[in-house]
């Protein structure tokens, strides 16, 4: 029935069967968003101390009991941590967080059904031109994305107009599977943004709060260079372990030292390019097309503009490898190669994005990782080109290259890609490698 807590003496030291039902409350936070007059949005946010402890280790003496002193002393960090995972905008322009002051800065708690919660409150100033009504507030919620992807924010929104009339909005549940939401607000007039020292809200969206406060806390902030380097490494790693990306590039590189020419009977056939320069030029064209394309979709997906289902993306990537390899054997791609490479580059970009997203990044800190990851992917690709292309150039006129490298190689790549395609489309395992 429900358990099987046993220990295997064989092979593995874990042993669970099905389902001791999870019987506690899972991790939730309660966020109330109130849009007010003059472009101001107030929030009150209740977040479990238990959840903060998991991430920030609040229990200084490790005795399992959180005292008020232990919590109070870490309050700026608690508040900053939460703030960096919530962004608000109005009509795609960022709202600027106002550092908590006065009553907002006072640490408070609230009791919910599963224990004590920190109560955080502050305001945002949204850019609304004089007399313009509220349209919609964009909300992006990624709290505890790194700690617990099953965490949810239960967001309740309302509005209060100048004469203090409250209008109830609604309730929405946000979390990693669906972090963004647009709150619709009607009937409220906004006023020009005041007291933001002329800061450009849209440029401050990505780093308004954490940067302002990073120096005032004990958390060692990772330097931008260090972070960039880490993501470059991640990008390179992704290429190095992503067999499908490598094989796609390989397929392209193998015949980049050749060109298609019509023979006497009007059939297209491969001929070695006359010069090295011609081959390098072709590679430059292909790599540029691929890079531009995947950069576009990587960016779009990372900022949440587009997120196609990963099964289709993965299947299309497999298809791209198949088509590229097949085209080496028989001409099936109409038109110039760089065009189709551009199209498939778009698909691969989504694949990179899901790898990047799996690093569980928040929207507020995406710029550096995106740049770093992309540079890493580029570096990975270029090193492949650097190894393969000279060899291909050198051997391009030999029979061995034609039969073994291009013929056999492309056939093997095509076979591999076909298996991936079936695996990914039908969600089955055939080889269990390179997925």
């Amino acid at each position: 029935m429900q358990r099987w807590f046993i220990t295997f003496s064989i092979a593995i030291a874990l042993a669970w069967g099905a389902t001791p039902a999870l019987a506690h409350k899972p991790s939730d936070s309660y966020l109330t968003v109130t849009a007010m007059d003059a472009g101001i949005v107030r929030i009150e946010w209740h977040i479990a101390l238990r959840d903060f402890d998991t991430e920030l280790h609040l229990d200084a003496n490790d005795d399992g009991r959180l005292t008020w002193g232990e919590v109070r002393k870490r309050w700026p960090e608690i508040s900053q941590y939460a703030a960096s995972y919530l962004t608000l905008g109005h009509q795609r322009q960022a709202c600027v967080m106002q550092a908590p002051s006065g009553a907002d800065a006072l640490p408070r708690l609230a009791t919910h059904t599963d224990g004590a919660y920190a109560v955080l409150s502050w305001s945002y100033a949204c850019p609304l031109s004089a007399g313009a009504p509220w349209q919609q507030v964009d909300l992006d919620y990624r709290l505890f994305a790194l700690t617990d992807p099953t965490h949810r924010g239960i967001v309740h929104w309302r509005s209060v107009d100048a004469s203090q009339h409250a209008h109830e909005g609604g309730t929405v549940v946000l979390g990693i599977p669906r972090p963004g939401h647009v709150l619709r607000l009607e009937g409220l007039q906004g006023l020009p943004l005041a007291g933001t020292d002329g800061a450009q809200p849209s440029t401050r969206l990505l780093n308004s709060y954490p940067d302002d406060h990073a120096s005032s806390t004990d958390v060692p902030a990772e330097s931008i260079w260090h972070e960039l380097r880490r993501f470059i490494e991640d990008g390179m790693h992704h290429i190095a372990v992503g067999a499908d990306h490598i094989l796609f590039l390989m397929s392209l590189l193998l015949v980049s030292v050749w060109q298609r020419e019509r023979d006497g009977r009007g059939n297209e056939a491969w001929q070695a390019r006359p010069t090295w320069q011609a081959a390098w030029k072709e590679v430059l064209k292909l790599v540029t097309a691929f890079t531009v394309a995947h950069s576009i979709t990587l960016g779009l997906a990372s900022f949440g503009v587009l997120s196609p289902p990963s099964r289709w993306v993965e299947s299309l990537i497999a298809l791209s490898v198949l088509v590229a390899a097949m085209d080496n054997l028989l001409p099936i791609i109409p038109g110039p190669r760089w065009l189709i490479v551009f199209a498939f580059g778009l698909v691969h970009g989504f694949g990179f994005a899901s790898a990047l997203q799996d690093l569980a990044l928040s929207g507020g800190t995406l710029a550096v990782p995106l740049l770093g990851f992309n540079l890493g992917v580029e570096a990975g690709q270029l090193s492949l080109v650097a190894v393969v292309l000279p060899l291909a150039c050198w051997m391009r006129r030999t029979r061995f290259y034609r039969l073994v490298f291009v013929g056999l190689g492309s056939a093997l790549i095509a076979a591999m890609a076909l298996i991936w395609l079936i695996e990914r489309m039908a969600n089955v395992t055939i080889l269990g490698w390179g997925g």
Binding site: L22, P26, Y30, L109, G115, T171
Partner: protein, 385 residues
């Protein structure tokens, strides 16, 4: 107003408050720094937990290291299963996030992913992973065992039997026997299975004792041998009480009309919803004034689960709705929905009870048919059929 209507109104109010949320909990500021504001656990942080935190930090620094990720996840799953805490399951999932959406993650990772999926009752996804695993690695005993278990819980006995046989293929002979005997006990051979398990219990390797004794305890309970079951439960709980066994034993105590004993055991488990449910039942049975508070807490917790869209606790919620809120119609709906997902004796029991109380015995017909076809022997269900 009749009492039933008052209860209903209270319930509706509670749900509305929980939905409109937050407003219900009034912020306050504690007055002294040494005031304890939250008990994270009833003991200090263990060395093992400290080590795990370091491991997690290391795993985050090396996001593609599957070995580290698996270590972090495995430990979190172990703890989560022990206490029934979904937060830890969520942290296990976080450790696997790189591989979470991949169609073909490494085998270790895939097994952990399946374990997490079944814990949130995503049985279909778990089964897909497990079936792919055993196909790729017929020697993966843990995958076979988990597969057999999910199939058994969901009432697919024929496939469960095949999965049990897989254990033999994987050279886990002892587990194979327990697996087969437990299945047999649910398929018309309870007495023979009990004899087999008793025999196994005398010869088994020590690390299987707990596993076999839990199977034996539950079987004894189904056969109406309360004292035998009690001895076994007490033996299990004496070493390292986990939430699952504690709940099973509490049910036995409640069935035996010994709510005081249940109260004594369950006091320290109030953070756990299903154990709080049993505690509330015991309070009600003893006319304890603390019942009201426990019922309020449960109501708020189920409302919170609804607010986030969870359906994992339908069995417990049906039980709460029937026995504590006394709303048989609503309980029946929950029990019917639960039966479509899980088919264990406890699921059949709450469905039969709710159908009787709601005067709609027909609603439990699928369970009756299932019980008859598979050949369950369960004394607790006899009066309900």
């Amino acid at each position: 107003m009749r009492p039933l209507m008052i209860t209903r109104l209270l319930c509706i109010t509670a749900v509305l408050c929980a939905l409109s949320g937050h407003t219900q909990a009034t912020p306050f500021t504690p007055s002294h720094d040494d005031e304890v504001v939250e008990v994270l656990r009833e003991r200090p942080l263990s060395a093992q937990e400290k080590q795990w935190r370091q491991l997690r930090a290391q795993a985050r620094a090396e996001p593609f290291n599957a070995i580290l990720a698996a270590q972090v996840a495995r430990q979190a799953i172990d703890w989560s299963r022990h206490d029934g805490d979904p937060r830890l399951m969520g942290q296990a999932q976080a450790a696997l996030s790189i591989w979470w959406q991949q169609p073909n993650p490494p085998a270790d990772i895939r097994l952990l992913r399946a374990t997490i999926l079944q814990s949130t009752h995503d049985f279909d996804a778990a089964l897909r992973d497990l079936q792919a695993l055993v196909k790729a690695q017929p020697n993966n005993a843990q995958a076979w065992l988990t597969l057999a278990s999910v199939l058994q819980v969901t009432g697919q006995y024929a496939s469960a039997r095949t999965a049990c046989d897989g254990l033999q293929q994987a050279h886990a002979t002892w587990h194979h026997q327990v697996c087969q005997l437990e299945l047999a006990s649910l398929q018309g051979q309870a007495v023979r299975a009990q004899a087999g398990l008793n025999l196994l219990a005398q010869r088994e390797p020590a690390d299987l004792t707990d596993y076999i004794n839990l199977v034996r305890a539950e079987l004894a309970e189904r056969l109406g041998q309360a004292s035998e079951a009690e001895t076994l439960y007490q033996g299990l709980l004496a070493q390292d009480a986990d939430a699952y066994t504690e709940g099973a034993y509490a049910d036995l105590l409640l069935d035996q009309h010994r709510p005081q004993d249940a109260i004594a055991r369950l006091q320290r488990w109030q953070r756990n919803d299903s154990l709080l449910l049993r505690l509330a039942q015991a309070y009600v049975a003893t006319n304890d004034a603390r019942a009201t508070q426990a019922i309020q807490a449960l109501r708020a917790r189920f409302a919170a689960a609804h607010a986030r869209g969870d359906n994992v606790h339908r069995r417990e919620e049906a039980r709460f709705t029937l026995h504590l809120l006394k709303q048989p119609d609503k309980a029946l709906k929950l029990a019917v929905a639960n039966w479509q997902v899980q088919k264990e004796p406890a699921d059949a029991r709450i469905l039969l009870e709710a159908a009787l109380a709601a005067h709609e015995p027909e609603a439990a017909a699928p369970a009756r048919l299932f019980i008859q076809q598979s050949g369950w022997a369960d004394k607790r269900l006899e009066g309900l059929l």
